[in-house]
Symmetry: C2
Subunit: 199 residues, 2 copies
């Protein structure tokens, strides 16, 4: 029957393409659009188009923005001597939520992964190097994810950056706060032991 | 930070208004729109607008359709002497999936619920009565949900329809097929006992 109402099927298909949305949920979401007022549905459609047309990359940090230069890069109160390197714009959100880091960011838009055809030239690495030529930059914190690809990317970057006389650091590995040792995996525990600190 | 990228926040808010989509999922979905190509995002936006503009109610059964008369009402092979009355268009999909029922449908678009201000005149009841004046109609199967409001609506309809000389039936209550007696609630078991049949 849903196959008979083509616009409904099409809309459900569109929802079904979103990550984590299955066939049944997609149909429920499509029905919910029909329950909206015309104005609400229009706003929804416009929000999709606007997000796509207005958002571009900040020419400095490569993070997403709808302005010429993103708010963080434009903020004069932030510490320009430290750049935190991240895999994607979602990570910027997460780090900003900590409210502790006051330096700048640089978004790579991926990690080196020869298996998936992602070579260093496909990432925003040359933009990072260009920023590092600025004498202001003193430290680069590499905060790629603790995966094989994230590690490899961190190694690659540190080899490029250290010769420029920049301090290159990596986020600490260890047991998550509030976690239970019992549930920590061996590699994490090994890294936590390795990185132990004086009390 | 997400608050700084206004089009992204707006899109996340739109997703967050959909049923069952929380704040985090909404943000993830908004990001996924940015990962789409321009064409894909456009298709998505168009699908929303099209579903809203093209889909209307079938003048006969009040089900959703994008045609003048819905496919089921237009289908000459279906049995016009039986009408199955349902709460909403989703239920039509479910019943059609059974592939057993070959009669017609009538969608009420709700159930009588004075608490929520839904009085009989807000439902598609007069359209149902108009259909019943047609001498072809012999049986009305009331398949509203087995809730208090669904029951009340079924009672109300049967009182209206019986004087017209129409057989009014209700879906059978009982233990779900494949279920376990242990998990059936008392009311369902009581109704299953009450409706017991010869083997």
């Amino acid at each position: 029957m849903a196959d008979h109402i083509e616009p409904l099927t099409k809309l459900a298909e569109q929802f079904g393409r979103l990550p984590g949305i299955g066939r049944k949920t997609a149909l429920r979401l499509a029905f919910s659009v029909l329950d909206m007022t015309d104005e609400q549905a229009n706003e929804f459609a416009c929000a999709i188009k606007e997000a796509k047309t207005k958002i571009h990359l900040c020419p400095i940090c490569q993070n997403l923005t709808d302005k010429d230069i993103c708010d963080i890069c434009a903020d004069d109160t932030r510490d320009r001597s430290t750049i935190c390197v991240l895999e994607d714009p979602r990570a910027v959100l997460v780090l900003e939520r900590v409210r502790e880091f006051k330096g700048m960011y640089h978004v790579l838009h991926g990690v080196i992964s020869p298996m998936s055809g992602v070579t260093p030239d496909k990432l925003k690495i040359k933009e990072l190097l260009a920023r590092c030529e600025d004498s202001e930059v003193k430290e680069i914190i590499i905060a790629t994810n603790p995966t094989v690809e994230g590690e490899a990317t961190a190694m690659y970057l540190s080899r490029l950056l250290k010769p420029l006389g920049i301090i290159v650091t990596r986020l600490a590995y260890g047991v998550p706060v509030g976690g239970d040792l019992e549930y920590a995996d061996e590699v994490t525990l090994y890294r936590a032991l390795e990185g132990r600190r004086d009390v």
